[in-house]
């Protein structure tokens, strides 16, 4: 077999693993209970590895708040000291089998959605979203609000959801995604349909397992307003699927894409655990309020681009015409975006159909060779983070070309006969 033949076979294997995966939502548990290697003194973050002092403001602040929240330090100064002295392990979610939206701050007591794919015996974990931002104008107020929110997620939402999920057969995530695509989600920036599908699927179990009416009320109220909730499950499933294609020799398919607000990082199946990074791009989009502008926004941030890694979000943009309002776009533009993603991927995932494009399957399996050849990088649908924390808008951006060319050069070194 020639080298291109070996690559083609490996890439087809990667795509067929995406197709064969059967991720199911099995539980909600604190990180310390489920993440392999997690310790009380570990704080995880979104994106590729980055030193604490180099992080963008919301992520940097988030790590400090997490140290305080876990009771490891009394004051911010003390927390910063511990981080700088290496007493706190600061690492990417991705390296612990997890993914985190936006800053992605995950500490020992953070409740995580647990998704399991029995076909490849892979687990994927995702943090639960805080919910809409408040207190954005004042840093201390925001931090107080955020930590109150974390406490509630740990003491109420996590246990209540966990009990309900454990009481019923695991919930298959892929059919939920397929359904949501039919209902106008692209499953990254728009999750209104998926969240409604999930609420339907668990409402009765919540009723049966949560006997405290006040807690049940709070949980339902959270699910009612959080139209992005299903993204936690999609991301955890995405992580399990993406990890299932790791380390396929000769494969040029991207197995992880994530951002930390400073850099965009990718991993490639055939190149194992090596990160390839380039500066993160800014996001083109709309702010939720006129008080915010480009100066308030952090560049591309979060692990949610795991959705594009498995062919959703920007790759399935035409499934969610409503989102075009955020990018001053049009349906035609969304269709063109999907078509250009077809040019850089291995093939279609037929389980995830785009109804508005005659039910083609989403373009999945990003091939770094095609990205470099076409000069087209993956389109990422994403939220916009405020530099002081919180979500303030939504839009789209593109992965920077630099990480793909760097990966291709490394692939050449690893696999080209010299």
């Amino acid at each position: 077999m020639t080298l291109p033949d070996k690559i083609a076979a490996a890439n087809n294997e990667a795509l067929s693993r995406f197709a064969a995966a059967r991720p199911v939502w099995v539980d909600v548990r604190p990180a310390i209970d489920v993440l392999p290697g997690m310790t009380r003194a570990t704080v995880l973050h979104a994106g590729p590895p980055i030193a604490w002092q180099d992080m963008c403001n919301p992520q940097k602040m988030g790590v400090v708040q997490a140290v305080l929240h876990e009771g490891l330090a009394e004051t911010e100064a003390e927390a910063e000291q511990m981080i700088l002295q290496g007493q706190i392990v600061v690492a990417p979610c991705h390296e612990y089998g997890a993914v985190g939206g936006m800053a992605g701050i995950t500490s020992a007591s953070s409740p995580l959605a647990v998704v399991h794919d029995p076909v490849h015996n892979r687990y994927g974990y995702s943090q639960l979203f805080q919910g809409p931002a408040s207190g954005l104008l004042n840093r201390d107020e925001y931090n107080n609000e955020a930590r109150k929110r974390w406490r509630w997620l740990e003491t109420v939402l996590g246990p209540v959801l966990g009990a309900a999920i454990r009481s019923i057969p695991p919930i298959p995530v892929k059919p939920m995604i397929a359904r949501a695509l039919e209902m106008g989600d692209e499953c990254h920036n728009r999750n209104s349909a998926g969240s409604a599908v999930i609420l339907n699927a668990i409402a009765l179990a919540l009723y049966d397992t949560c006997t405290d009416r006040a807690l049940l009320q709070e949980t339902l109220a959270y699910l009612k307003v959080n139209e992005q909730f299903s993204l936690c499950l999609s991301m955890a499933a995405g992580k399990a699927m993406a990890d299932s294609i790791k380390n396929i020799p000769y494969s040029t398919v991207v197995s992880a894409m994530c951002r930390n607000g400073v850099e965009f990082g990718i991993k490639v199946s055939g190149l194992g655990e090596q990160w390839f990074t380039a500066p993160a791009n800014r996001i083109e989009g709309l702010y939720f309020s006129s008080e915010w502008g480009d100066a308030d926004a952090v560049p591309d941030i979060g692990d949610s681009s795991i959705m594009e890694t498995i062919g959703l979000g920007g790759h399935a943009q035409a499934a969610a015409p409503a989102l075009q309002q955020f990018v001053n776009g049009s349906f035609a533009r969304a269709v063109s975006t999907v078509q250009s993603m077809q040019l850089i991927t291995v093939g279609q995932l037929m389980e995830f159909k785009i109804p508005t494009m005659d039910f083609i399957g989403v373009p999945a399996g990003i091939d770094i060779r095609k990205v470099v050849q076409q000069g087209i990088t993956p389109v990422i649908d994403t939220a916009i983070a405020h530099c002081k924390g919180g979500v303030i808008g939504a839009g789209q951006t593109q992965a920077p070309e630099g990480c793909f060319t760097a990966a291709l050069r490394a692939f050449g070194k690893a696999y080209q006969p010299s």
Binding site: L3, I7, S336, R369, G375, L408, R409, F411, Q416
Partner: protein
């Protein structure tokens, strides 16, 4: 018009391909002129090493 051999000047409204600023396509559509807008982006810089590598991998 006398036949100049140039199909543009045959008397019919032009049929336009717009490469660049969207505004020019909009002004033509305002006049009911057929326009195809090209989704143009700058070509990637040429890098011979990378192109040779690509050739060996595709």
């Amino acid at each position: 018009m006398t036949d100049t051999g140039n199909p543009l000047l045959a008397g019919q409204p032009p049929c336009v391909v717009n490469v660049g600023i969207d505004l020019f396509a909009e002004t033509l559509r305002q006049q009911s002129i057929t326009v195809v807008q090209v989704l143009w982006k700058p070509p990637p810089p040429q890098d011979d090493d990378l192109l040779n590598l690509l050739d060996s991998l595709i």
